[in-house]
Subunit: 93 residues, 2 copies
């Protein structure tokens, strides 16, 4: 899989459906894989996005891999550990 | 792996460290695998629990598998879809 064929979407504060649409557009544009990345509280939203895409819109999309990790973030002088997730979606058809 | 050797912990509203302790106790008691289950907003907390156990307390514990899914929940007459996660932790030593 070449780098160019994998698109990453960072899940932030926008509503779930904004990200769902972004995923659909990337797959419709020819992407074979789309990676959802999220940190902290947005991790739950990343799972929502993956589930809505897979269940409601694109039944040929499936979860290929899920990785979790930790990032160190400095904010206002405090160092915090934030959990991260990467959900790799692939189009199977 | 027999069913008895796998313990499940449902991640709810308690602080992260309560669940971290529960995981450590189960592994210390001989469990080979511990499954963290969470729904909705608690999904992020389940990832936190897995990361804290693995990074701070038990370096022989690793993430074996992560599954996501959807559950239909009826609350006050409304039917909602809630995302779910299952994180399987295993002790490698």
């Amino acid at each position: 899989m070449s780098e160019a064929a994998t698109q990453a979407i960072l899940i932030g504060r926008k509503p779930v459906m904004k990200y769902v649409l972004a995923v659909i557009l990337q797959f419709s544009g020819g992407a074979k894989e789309v990676v959802l990345k999220a940190r902290g509280r947005n991790i739950s939203k990343a799972v929502d996005v993956a589930e809505v895409v897979r269940r409601k819109f694109m039944e040929t999309v499936q979860v290929k891999d899920i990785k979790i990790g930790t990032e160190t973030v400095e904010r206002e002088g405090n160092v915090r550990n934030l959990s991260t997730v990467e959900i790799v979606l692939e189009k199977t058809e």
